[in-house]
C-alpha cells in the first residue's frame, strides 16, 4: 500500500501552549487509522495539521508527495473540497439549509450543477439510511441522524481521506455505534482512508491500527508490539 499522507516532526503552539511537540504519522490509501490520546494531548491539532486546516510551526505534511504548508489557501481549499472529507462532533452542518442541500454543498462548491449535485447527494443519504429526512433541517432530526448526514456529506465528494474528530462524542453508545458502522462500511466501500480522532478505545477499535498522542508526541504502537 502506498503512503497517502505523511506527517513528520510536527510542532504547533497556540500562544504559550504547545499542542504538538513532535508528532509523526502516516496514512496509507484505504487504511483506517485511529488517533488516540487523552483530552488535551494534541490529537485534534494533529488532525487539523494533517488536513491542511492548520499550518504547523515546524515539520511537514505531504499529501501525495505535495507539501501542504507550501500550498496557497485556494489550493488547500480545493484539496479539502475534492480529496478530503470531514466529520466533526458538531457544528459542521449549515443550519439554514436542508439535509439534502447540506450534502450537496461540497459538490456545488466544486462547481457541480444543483440538480446533479442533489441527485448524487440523495444516493449517499440513502446509503447512510437518512434518505427519508432529506428535506428536513438540522435541528429537526436527532443527533445520530445529523451525524449520518454529516458522514454522507463527507463522502459525497468520494474523498481519498476522511477525517473524523470524535464523530460520536455527542451521541449515546447505540447511536454512536450505528454511525461508526455506517462510516467505516462506507469508507471501505469507497476505498477512502479514515483518520479517526477519539479518546474512546471502543471507538478506536473500529480502526485497523492506532496512533497514540501524549503531550503532543506520537507513539507508534505498532513498533512496540
Amino acid at each position: 500500500m502506498t503512503e497517502l499522507l505523511v506527517a513528520k516532526g510536527l510542532a504547533k503552539a497556540f500562544g504559550p501552549t504547545n499542542a504538538l511537540v513532535d508528532a509523526s504519522m502516516s496514512v496509507r490509501a484505504g487504511e483506517l487509522v485511529a488517533v488516540m490520546g487523552p483530552s488535551g494531548s494534541g490529537k485534534s491539532t494533529l488532525l487539523h495539521c494533517l488536513a491542511g486546516i492548520l499550518k504547523p510551526d515546524a515539520g511537514s505534511v505531504t499529501y501525495r508527495d505535495a507539501e501542504l504548508s507550501a500550498m496557497p489557501d485556494s489550493e488547500r481549499s480545493a484539496l479539502r473540497r475534492n480529496d478530503f472529507g470531514f466529520v466533526f462532533q458538531f457544528g459542521q452542518l449549515v443550519p439554514e439549509l436542508t439535509f439534502l442541500e447540506n450534502v450537496a454543498l461540497p459538490l456545488r462548491l466544486g462547481g457541480m450543477r444543483r440538480a446533479e449535485a442533489e441527485r448524487s447527494a440523495k444516493v449517499w443519504m440513502d446509503l447512510l439510511e437518512v434518505g427519508d429526512i432529506a428535506s428536513k433541517r438540522p435541528g429537526e432530526a436527532s443527533g445520530g441522524q445529523g451525524q449520518r448526514v454529516a458522514v454522507a456529506r463527507a463522502l459525497a465528494t468520494e474523498p481519498k481521506v476522511l477525517f473524523a474528530d470524535e464523530p460520536t462524542g455527542a451521541l449515546d453508545s447505540l447511536n454512536g455505534e450505528r454511525v461508526l458502522r455506517l462510516l467505516f462500511d462506507a469508507a471501505r466501500q469507497t476505498g477512502a482512508a479514515v483518520v479517526l480522532v477519539t479518546h474512546e478505545p471502543r471507538v478506536a477499535a473500529y480502526a485497523d491500527r492506532e496512533v497514540v498522542v501524549r503531550d503532543g508526541r506520537t507513539q507508534d504502537v505498532e513498533l512496540v508490539a
Partner: protein, 765 residues
C-alpha cells in the same frame, strides 16, 4: 471561462439561498434589510424625481398662461379672441390667483382644465377652492366669491391637486388695456436649476444613501455568530476565501434586491398617496413624480453595490478559517490622524470655495466637500467613543458594566451610531441649505421699516373709487381711506427720478396732505422723501399718449405751489405733482383709479372683510409687507418640511438598526446576564447598564452630529451669497428623535433582558 463564470454565479446563488433560508433569525434579518433598504430606495427614487416634479409644476403653470406666447396676439382663423388679466387675492395668509376672462366670440382658445369659459358673473373653481369655500374656514372668504359657479377645473389646468385657482368671467370694460389673445400656453423651456438647489439635491441623495449603509452594516451584525459558524462550516468543506466572500456578497445581494423591490413598492404606494392626502400642504400630482430614468438606473445599481460593499468591508477584519472565525488579535488603539483626514479635506475644500476666495463656487467641489465631511464623521466617532470609554473610571456598577462592555466589543454598534450621526449631520445641513435657498425667506430678510399698514387697490373709474373709499372709511380696522387718480405719463428726459402725477379734486387732495387753499385748476408739488424738490421748470411737457391717432401731452402750468409730501406715500416713491382735475383738462386717456387705505390695528378678521368689500377682481396691495406665500411657493416650503420628516424617518430607520444591535447584544450575552443575575446583581442595575450602553454612543454621536451639521451648513452657505438661517425647530426635533430612539431601543430590549435573567438564560443550547 464560462465555467468559472458559472461557478461564480453558483457561489452567489448559494449566498442568496442562505439569506433566504429558514430560521427566525434570518427571517427577521431579511425583514430589517428589506425595510431599511426599501425606505432608502424609496427616498432616493423621490429625490431622483425632484427634476420631474419641478418640471411638471413649471409645465403646468406655463401651459395656462394666456396670451404670453410671442405670437399669441396674431389672429388665428376660427378662433375668437380672449381677453384676460391675472388676479391675485389673499386669504388666511395664503395667496392664490386666477384669471379674469372675457371671451369675445363663440370660439375662444382652449384654456386647460376649463370646459366652458365663464361668462360675466360666472366662475370656474379648482376643486380645492370649492372645498375651501364649502368648509367652515371658508365662510369668511365666501363673500369674495359671489359669482355663479359654472364649472370645476380639471387636473390639466392645475399645478397640483391642492392648488387654489379660479377663472372668473368679467365684462370687457373690466379689462382695460388688455390685448386679445388667440392662444393659451407658453412653449416649454428648459428648466433653470438654481445651482444651490442642484447641489442640494446631490447632498440630499448622499445623505439618503447613509441609512442604507447604516442598515446593511447593522443587519450584517444581526445573528453574526450564526453566520460566522456557517461560513466556517463552508470553509471546512472546502470553500476558499474568495468563494466565502462571494457567498457573503450573494447573501447581502439578496437583501439588497428584495429591498429594491420593496423600495419600488413603497415609492409607488407613496406616490398614489400624494393625490389623496395633502402632505404638509404640498400640492403635487402623483403622476408628476417620475424618477429620471438615468437616476433610477443609478439607484438600482448603486444600492446593491453599497450593500455588497458594506457587507464585505464588515467582513474585512474577520478571518474565516475552517475551525471558526478569528477576529484580528487585540487591536491597537484607534489612531486619530488618518480618521481626521476626510473631515479636514472636506473643510479645506469648502473653505476654499468661500465667496470672496473663489470667484465662482463650483458645485461639484462643494458637494465633494460635504460628502467628505459626512463620511469622515463616522470615522472619527469611534475614536472619540474609545477615548471616552477609556477615560471613564469609577461610577456606579451599571455604568462600569456598560463601559467595560463597550470597551471590549464596541465596533459594530459604533459603526451604526457613526452612520446615525452622519445622517443627523447631513439632515441638519440640508435643512439649513433649504431654508436659506427658500426665496420667500429671502424676501422676508428684507425687513420693512415703516408704513406696514399702508395698502391700496384700484378700481374701474374714479366714481367707484370715491364710493369704495367712502365705504371703507366706515369699516372697522380702517384708519383712513382716500381715492385719487394717477396719470401715466412719459417722464421728461432731463429728470433722474420718476415724478408721479396724481389727479384728484380738492377734498381728496386734502385727504392726502394738508393744503390750505385749494381751488380747481391748482397744481401742487411735493418733494422726494429726502426733501429734494424735483427740477420742474414751468412748461415741462409730460407726454400722455403716443397713440397713432394723435400725440397727447400735458404741460405744467406756470404756478405750482410746494406742499408737504403726502403721508400716504410709500418711502420708495419719488417726488410728484398733485393736480386738480380742471388743471388736467379733458381727454386724458389713461387714468389709474386708486383707493389708498391706512389700516389700524393688525386685525386679520377686519382685513378679510376689507378684501371682501374690495372684491375678488381688485387685489389689495401693501407697500411694505412681505407677500404671503403663493401656492407654488408653498410647495417649496413643503419640500423643506418633507426633508424634516424624511430625516426623522431616516433616523427612525437608523434607530431600528440600533435596536437590532441592542437586541443582538442582549441575546449574545444572555448567559452572562443570567450568571450576573444569579449572583445577585439586581435587574435595575443590568437594565441601567443596557441603557448606558445604548445612550452614551448616541448622545455623543448626536452632539458630534449637531456640531458637524451646523458647521457644515455654515461652510456650505459661505459659498453662496445668501444670509444664513437655521431651522432650530427641525434641529431640535431631530435631536429629540435621536434621544427617543435610544429610550425606545432600551425599553424594547428590557423584556428580553428579563427573560435572559430568568433560568432559561443559564441553560445551554
Amino acid at each position: 471561462m464560462t465555467d468559472a463564470l458559472r461557478r461564480w454565479f453558483g457561489d452567489l446563488s448559494l449566498g442568496v439561498r442562505l439569506a433566504a433560508a429558514g430560521g427566525r433569525g434570518s427571517a427577521v434579518r431579511l425583514a430589517w434589510i428589506t425595510i431599511g433598504i426599501g425606505l432608502g430606495v424609496a427616498a432616493l427614487l423621490t429625490a431622483a424625481s425632484a427634476g420631474s416634479v419641478l418640471d411638471s409644476h413649471e409645465q403646468r403653470t406655463r401651459a395656462r398662461i394666456i396670451g404670453a406666447a410671442p405670437d399669441a396676439d396674431r389672429p388665428v382663423p376660427g378662433v375668437s379672441p380672449l381677453y384676460s388679466s391675472a388676479v391675485f387675492t389673499e386669504f388666511a395668509g395664503r395667496r392664490f390667483g386666477g384669471e379674469m376672462l372675457f371671451a369675445d366670440g363663440a370660439t375662444p382658445p382652449k384654456v386647460p382644465g376649463v370646459e366652458v369659459l365663464p361668462k360675466p358673473g360666472e366662475i370656474v373653481l379648482s376643486p380645492a377652492l370649492r372645498d375651501l369655500l364649502a368648509s367652515p374656514e371658508g365662510t369668511l372668504l365666501l363673500p369674495r366669491f359671489p359669482q355663479r359657479v359654472t364649472g370645476i377645473l380639471g387636473d390639466e389646468g392645475l399645478s397640483g391637486p391642492w392648488e387654489l385657482h379660479f377663472y372668473v368671467g368679467v365684462e370687457r370694460a373690466e379689462l382695460p388695456g388688455t390685448s386679445p389673445a388667440y392662444s393659451v400656453g407658453v412653449p416649454p423651456e428648459r428648466l433653470y436649476f438654481d445651482p444651490l438647489l442642484s447641489s442640494l439635491v446631490v447632498i440630499a441623495s448622499v445623505v439618503l444613501l447613509i441609512p442604507v449603509v447604516v442598515f446593511v452594516a447593522g443587519t450584517a451584525r444581526l445573528s453574526a455568530s450564526a453566520r460566522d459558524r456557517r461560513l466556517a462550516a463552508l470553509r471546512l468543506i472546502g470553500a476558499d476565501a474568495g468563494q466565502v466572500r462571494r457567498i457573503v456578497a450573494g447573501e447581502s445581494l439578496a437583501g439588497a434586491l428584495v429591498g429594491l423591490v420593496a423600495g419600488v413598492v413603497f415609492f409607488v404606494v407613496g406616490r398614489d398617496l400624494v393625490d389623496s392626502v395633502s402632505l404638509f400642504g404640498m400640492s403635487i400630482y402623483g403622476k408628476d413624480i417620475r424618477p429620471s430614468p438615468a437616476l433610477a438606473l443609478l439607484v438600482f445599481l448603486v444600492v446593491p453595490v453599497i450593500a455588497v460593499g458594506t457587507a464585505l468591508v464588515a467582513l474585512r477584519r474577520t478571518l474565516i478559517e475552517p475551525l471558526g472565525v478569528s477576529r484580528g488579535a487585540r487591536r491597537a488603539p484607534r489612531r486619530l490622524w488618518w480618521r481626521l483626514l476626510p473631515i479636514l479635506a472636506g473643510v479645506a475644500l469648502l473653505a476654499g470655495q468661500h465667496r470672496g476666495m473663489a470667484s465662482q463656487p463650483q458645485t461639484a467641489l462643494v458637494v465633494i466637500g460635504v460628502v467628505l465631511v459626512l463620511v469622515g464623521l463616522p470615522m472619527v466617532l469611534p475614536w472619540l467613543l474609545e477615548r471616552c470609554v477609556r477615560r471613564s473610571r469609577g461610577g456606579p456598577l451599571s455604568w462600569q458594566l456598560a463601559m467595560r462592555r463597550m470597551g471590549a466589543h464596541g465596533g459594530a454598534s459604533w459603526r451604526i451610531v457613526g452612520g446615525f450621526a452622519a445622517l443627523l449631520a447631513g439632515g441638519i445641513a440640508v435643512q439649513a441649505l433649504l431654508l436659506t435657498s427658500d426665496s420667500i425667506h429671502r424676501d422676508e430678510s428684507w425687513t420693512p421699516t415703516a408704513d406696514r399698514d399702508l395698502a391700496w387697490t384700484t378700481t374701474a373709474d374714479s366714481e367707484s373709487a370715491r364710493r369704495l373709499a367712502e365705504r371703507l372709511r366706515t369699516m372697522p380696522g380702517v384708519r383712513r381711506a382716500v381715492s385719487y387718480d394717477v396719470v401715466h405719463a412719459q417722464q421728461p428726459p432731463h429728470l433722474n427720478g420718476p415724478v408721479e402725477l396724481i389727479v384728484a379734486p380738492c377734498p381728496a387732495l386734502r385727504e392726502l396732505t394738508p393744503i390750505q387753499n385749494c381751488a380747481e385748476g391748482d397744481v401742487f408739488s411735493f418733494p422726494e422723501p429726502n426733501g429734494e424738490i424735483a427740477d420742474l421748470p414751468p412748461g415741462t411737457e409730460f407726454v400722455l399718449s403716443t397713440a397713432p391717432e394723435g400725440r397727447l401731452s400735458w404741460r405744467q402750468p406756470e404756478r405750482v405751489r410746494p406742499i408737504a409730501r403726502p403721508a400716504f406715500h410709500a418711502p420708495w416713491s419719488g417726488a410728484g405733482l398733485l393736480i386738480t382735475p380742471a388743471a388736467v383738462g379733458q381727454g386724458v386717456p389713461q387714468l389709474q383709479h386708486l383707493v389708498a387705505v391706512r389700516l389700524g390695528e393688525d386685525d386679520p378678521l377686519a382685513l378679510e372683510a376689507i378684501r371682501n368689500e374690495i372684491g375678488l377682481t381688485r387685489p389689495l396691495s401693501f407697500s411694505a409687507r412681505a407677500t404671503p406665500v403663493s401656492d407654488s411657493e408653498r410647495t417649496y416650503t413643503a419640500i423643506r418640511r418633507l426633508v424634516t420628516v424624511g430625516s426623522v424617518a431616516a433616523l427612525a430607520v437608523a434607530a431600528g438598526g440600533l435596536l437590532v444591535v441592542a437586541f443582538e447584544h442582549v441575546r449574545h450575552r444572555r448567559r452572562q446576564f443570567a450568571v450576573l443575575s444569579a449572583t445577585g446583581v439586581p435587574y435595575s442595575t443590568l437594565a441601567w447598564s443596557v441603557l448606558w450602553q445604548n445612550a452614551v454612543p448616541v448622545v455623543l454621536g448626536t452632539g458630534a452630529a449637531l456640531a458637524c451639521g451646523l458647521g457644515l451648513a455654515t461652510l456650505v452657505l459661505n459659498t453662496t451669497p445668501t444670509p444664513q438661517r437655521y431651522d432650530w425647530e427641525a434641529i431640535g426635533l431631530t435631536g429629540a428623535a435621536a434621544v427617543l430612539a435610544v429610550l425606545l431601543a432600551t425599553v424594547m430590549t428590557l423584556p428580553q433582558l428579563r427573560r435572559a435573567m430568568r433560568s432559561e438564560g443559564l441553560r445551554t443550547e
